[in-house]
Amino acid sequence: MSEHSITTIPSTPQPTKSVWFGFVAAVVLQVFLTAPLFAADDELRTVTVADPYLELHTGPGRGYPVFHVVDRGESVDIVMQRTDWYKVRTNRGREGWVDREQMELTLQPDGQRVSFERATIEDFTNARWETGILAGDFGGANIISLYGSYSLNPNVSVELWGSQILGNFSNGWMASANVVHEAWPEWRVSPFFTLGAGYIHTEPKSTIIQGEDRDDQIGHVGVGFRIYATRRFLLRAEYKSYVVFTSRDENEEVEEWKVGFAFFF
């Protein structure tokens, strides 16, 4: 199948996921209109119905009604996937959404059962990369953090963090790198220990005091949990104790509590 709409760019076959965005600023409202440009995707995965029938829903969700049924022996093309739903096209051109459970009962051209890649708890243990967002309390101020992690092996990973700190008296940001050790990475709730160092920038709020901006080095230790949720998704909660190496006589100690979510891939 090769659709030729106005926006299709006739070109050499490209990887299926080639979506372009064209922003057109509407003059008056400064609206951005997005238009996808799909490369002609002439290669779709075809599967044969092996279960008595395949139910096509009108939308990608349990509540959408079944409007068409494909009989055993007929084949369908898989147009796309969204979450656990597959949009399929029958030989007669009807399109509908099928859930994963039914799709896994269909057969590939070579007669094998179809198996779809799906992240499991094993990937949770073994995945190399992870990125997530956490928020919480940093010594009485609010903190929002973004991190990226790379696993050297299932037990040890290195992480980079960037945080924005929003307090009543001062704002700031913080960057740090740390090493994480997980003693039981195969557990669904996996505890970890972490050690790191970084840099913090603090600026007092303009309406309260006319203080000076400060830049300090920090060191921290922490403990926490990574909790496997579903698919490539995990929850994370942690406590860290920071030492801020100030230029004054005494160092400052700050406690931090955070929760959030992350993806591994």
């Binding site: 299926t16 996921k17 979506v19 965005f21 922003f23 409202l29 400064q30 609206v31 951005f32 209109l33 997005t34 238009a35 996808p36 995707d41 290669e43 779709l44 995965r45 009108t58 939308g59 990608p60 969700g61 349990r62 509540g63 959408y64 898989i78 147009v79 796309m80 996937q81 969204r82 979450t83 656990d84 739903w85 597959y86 949009k87 590939q108 051209p109 070579d110 779809f116 967002i133 928020a135 609010n142 929002i144 924005q164 929003l166 009543n168 704002n171 709020k205 303009s206 309406t207 579903t230 698919r231 998704f233 979510f261």
Partner: protein, 226 residues
């Protein structure tokens, strides 16, 4: 004694070199050697040529991300309402849950005090720029379909969102909580229109005492799944 250790060491070294075929077979780890070719049975004339079909399955196009832009009106508490616009990126985790990040801009007008006093400005011109970003969790609470005439049906969804982020306004970054509801209207399975209403809350002490400001925003948007 020493030579005995040396022998032991050599054995360990040999085992560790398990790539070597000799050691493999020595300890029975190696794959069994192929049996010597037997003589062709005289009756077999046709050599069965069964070729296994190498099927390389094309990848399935996953469309879990949603990206787009929006434009609307934002009412900044005490500072009047003005145009707002921004970008949004969402990732659909399940058919119900999604996570979303939005970044937007609006501009504050004048408070009634500033207008009545005629000239006295509470904040400078550049401090009237209102930037925000939010990280939200959303849930499609009422998925459904709408019908246009007899022959057309569109998938829709009413969703709730809540999250936190930061707003830069009046000279400070302010921790912001936001929540709201939206309506997603799918023109096709890959392009959607959005209508959203959100409340952005943050603490502000600009007008004397500290209070929680409610900044209501309504906007229309277009997104594309990819």
């Amino acid at each position: 004694m020493e030579s005995r250790f040396r022998v032991l060491f050599l054995i360990v070294a040999m085992i560790s070199l398990s790539g070597c075929a000799a050691t493999k077979n020595l300890f029975g780890f190696g794959s069994r050697e192929a049996a010597p070719p037997t003589a062709e049975p005289p009756g077999q004339v046709i050599d069965p040529e069964v070729e296994r079909r190498e099927v390389k399955e094309p990848a399935i196009d996953r469309e879990d991300f949603e990206f787009g832009a929006f434009v609307g009106v934002m009412g900044i508490e005490d500072f009047g309402s003005d145009l707002s616009y921004g970008l949004r990126l969402a990732y659909h985790i399940t058919e119900g849950f999604f996570v979303e990040t939005t970044a937007g801009y609006s501009r504050a007008g004048k408070t009634s005090f500033e207008i009545l006093s005629g000239g006295a400005e509470l904040i400078s011109d550049s401090e009237r720029d209102f930037y925000y970003y939010n990280l939200n969790v959303g849930y499609n609470i009422l998925p459904g379909e709408v019908f246009l005439g007899e022959g057309r049906a569109y998938n829709t969804s009413l969703y709730l969102i809540a999250g936190l982020g930061s707003t830069t306004f009046a000279g400070d970054d302010r921790f912001t909580v936001n929540f709201g509801a939206g309506y997603r209207f799918l023109l096709t399975d890959s392009v959607a229109l959005h209508l959203d209403f959100r409340d952005h809350l943050f603490d502000i002490d600009l007008l004397g005492e500290e209070k929680t400001a409610h900044n209501l925003e309504g906007h229309l948007g277009v997104t594309v799944f990819f």
